[in-house]
Symmetry: C3
Subunit: 152 residues, 3 copies
């Protein structure tokens, strides 16, 4: 449980895993890859952040939202794997930022999640990435993050 100890030392905790909101599962494993469904910054199915980045939400707040979405990625991975130490590498992170016209700093926002993965796994936590804008996200979430990870 080394990764979870690190999380604790960072003052962070994994949100409980809620039931999926619809016709999907949070994770699916194929061979050595685990695919993770789009995660938003919610706790117990309640969004903790809502807004349009660059309009009624600043970058720093959006980074915190991205970090929480990233923590939800970790929660569902733990439910799949039993122990986060079994994650070998983050392969792909797709990040969407609900943003105002003219907003250009999507990478800075998604860094809120990427920094978390790097702090916990070092260079193995640094994935290929996309960080782009979108007009709307479910329930008005400011960010949504998907991941594909390689596991032992």
């Amino acid at each position: 449980m080394l990764i979870e100890k690190k999380l604790e030392q960072m003052g962070l905790r994994l949100p409980a895993v809620a039931a999926p909101a619809g016709l999907y599962v949070f994770t699916k494993r194929v061979g050595s890859l685990v695919y993770v469904s789009g995660q938003t910054p919610d706790i117990n199915s309640e969004l903790q952040f809502k807004g349009v980045v660059g309009e009624d939400m600043d970058i720093e707040t959006a980074q915190k939202a991205a970090q929480l979405a990233g923590l939800n990625v970790l929660s569902v991975l733990k439910a799949e794997l039993g122990d986060l130490d079994r994650v070998k590498s983050f392969v792909q992170v797709l990040g969407y930022v609900r943003c105002a016209k003219g907003f250009e700093d999507h990478p800075k926002v998604i860094n809120g999640a990427s920094q978390l993965f790097k702090d916990l796994w070092g260079q193995a936590g640094v994935a290929t990435r996309m960080a782009i804008g979108t007009n709307e996200l479910p329930e008005g979430s400011p960010v949504e993050i998907l991941a594909v990870v390689e596991v032992e």
Copy 2:
């Protein structure tokens, strides 16, 4: 041909596979995975639904559009595999909804496709998923759906 029999019992049929509209293929297999190109609700290359969800199209209509896009996913999978019974599991479904400002119900729309896959394959048809908004889709389609499936 068990899956196709179920489809028939549900009163649904697979659209014919049209020629790809551009410089892409509908499917590509790598190992046990088949990647499927973005599918829209068209029949014989003609969109059957066109609009902006939450503006000039309601959720129920958009769900039917998503179901038709899902049927096109199945059509191209059949062309790749010969028999849909060879699909073992739906791994990832990415759904985009062309939507109005303030629209929040993307998951409900994409459920139109996810329900189809679940009805046909049970829990193996339930994938990891993303369902988000976008400002515009090709030809004014209200939805576009991609998939990655595991095959035998």
Copy 3:
């Protein structure tokens, strides 16, 4: 170096690989797949194209932007593999077009990259694909392109 010879004959050259702008890597290999991060039409970290397609940029210009983003896909693949001849097949191309309201020709824009891959690898360069709209991309880029390729 057959692929690079073809590139030269086509009058094209690979941009230098810049340092990643943030907390990501340009490529990651898992088994026979290489995932490539979202690429924009930049040279030495400077965007060469900026705009909204269908508003202040026409399709032909956007296709050139997509081709340059595609060249950056090749540059980072070369850095990963040493030799582009080791690319066996393009599996998935995801293309986002920053576009005006009512724009419908996303596939034509992304063809700028897809044509490049096809010219170099023939049918093996033709991937499954998504080509859709988005309201905003990092730094105001008109296009962003991701890829998953199969390697020897």
